[in-house]
């Protein structure tokens, strides 16, 4: 798990510097926000000329799922006070995923999976964010090193495993087309936020 997290963290660090964030701002995002997709979205929107508001809205919409993970983890972890703050901060795709996959082996195994994964990912993610940020500061033109292609590739890598059936594939293609259609007409960042409405339409119309 450490190697993919490390690569991805380094890519985030480098992409954030290329988008105009300082090393400190880049590291604060990994320390305080700590959710890969949201972090990439914040620097991506700012890097393409979007406002702070658009960046915050996109990052927050992507962060909403962590709240639902928390809802799922709360009865398992039963945390109070400061431990709940730490547990909440470590509630991301990876830690929740491992905890759920361990549930069959009992609550203790699931709890151990959550903490071990959360702490491990937090450590490597932040370490490699710093290394990536420092590395990107040392090179000149990001495009000459392919850094400008790393960001869309990172998003594609996060998207790919979610495309499990025709409905999700159609939604993905519609969202990409809608965003590209809107780009010339509305301020940067808005085309991305607008596609969340597509998800609401797709999600509420299903009858199962």
């Amino acid at each position: 798990m450490a190697i993919p997290v490390g690569t991805y963290g380094a890519a985030f660090g480098a992409a954030s510097i290329a988008a105009g964030f300082s090393v400190l701002q880049t590291c604060l995002l990994s320390l305080l926000l700590f959710s890969g997709a949201s972090q990439f979205a914040v620097v991506g929107v700012i890097g393409s000329g979007g406002s702070a508001m658009s960046a915050i809205a996109t990052g927050s919409l992507l962060g909403f799922r962590n709240g639902l993970y928390g809802l799922k983890m709360a009865p398992l972890l039963r945390l109070k006070g400061f431990k709940r703050v730490i547990g909440a901060q470590l509630t991301i795709d990876e830690s929740t995923g491992v905890a759920i996959s361990q549930e069959g082996r009992g609550d203790d195994a699931a709890r151990y999976g959550f903490w071990a994964t959360g702490i491990g990912v937090y450590f490597f993610w932040n370490l490699f964010t710093l290394l990536g940020a420092l590395g990107a500061g040392a090179i000149g033109d990001p495009a000459a090193w392919g850094l400008d292609a790393v960001v869309p590739a990172a998003f594609l890598g996060l998207l790919w495993p979610r495309l499990t059936d025709n409905k999700t594939r159609i939604l993905a293609i519609s969202a990409a087309l809608l965003a590209l259609l809107l780009v010339p007409f509305v301020p940067a960042g808005i085309p991305i936020i607008a596609t969340a409405l597509l998800a609401v339409v797709f999600g509420s119309r299903e009858k199962k």
């Binding site: 991805y8 997709a37 962590n66 639902l68 993970y69 547990g87 392919g146 869309p152 979610r162 999600g203």
Partner: protein, 101 residues
């Protein structure tokens, strides 16, 4: 304060509060099937539009350039079940190659 500082600190705060709220609100509030479905679809819509905008636009124009090559290589790598580091490396290398041609 600059736009970048505002984006950094406010999105960090909101994303943390979203995580924390999950531990504080009663489960019944959000445990409706439609909410669960929409929650799993929102990342798909946002990630897909982010792919498109990051790979195919500059400022407010749709542009086809070296980044698209990197993205296509990434898609091929993913369809062959390449792992994350390999996929990113191939995308960067192919895009840089076309850029430097």
């Amino acid at each position: 304060m600059s736009q970048i500082w505002i984006a950094t600190l406010i999105s960090s705060l909101i994303c943390f509060l979203l995580k924390y709220l999950g531990y504080r609100i009663p489960e019944s509030l959000l445990n409706r099937p439609a909410i669960q479905r929409i929650n799993s679809l929102i990342p798909i819509a946002l990630l897909s539009s982010l792919v498109a905008v990051q790979a195919l636009t500059i400022k407010q124009q749709v542009v086809i350039d070296h980044r698209l090559v990197g993205l296509l290589v990434a898609a091929i790598a993913l369809s062959f079940k390449a792992n994350f580091p390999i996929m990113m490396l191939l995308a960067a290398a192919s895009s840089a190659l076309v850029y430097n041609l």
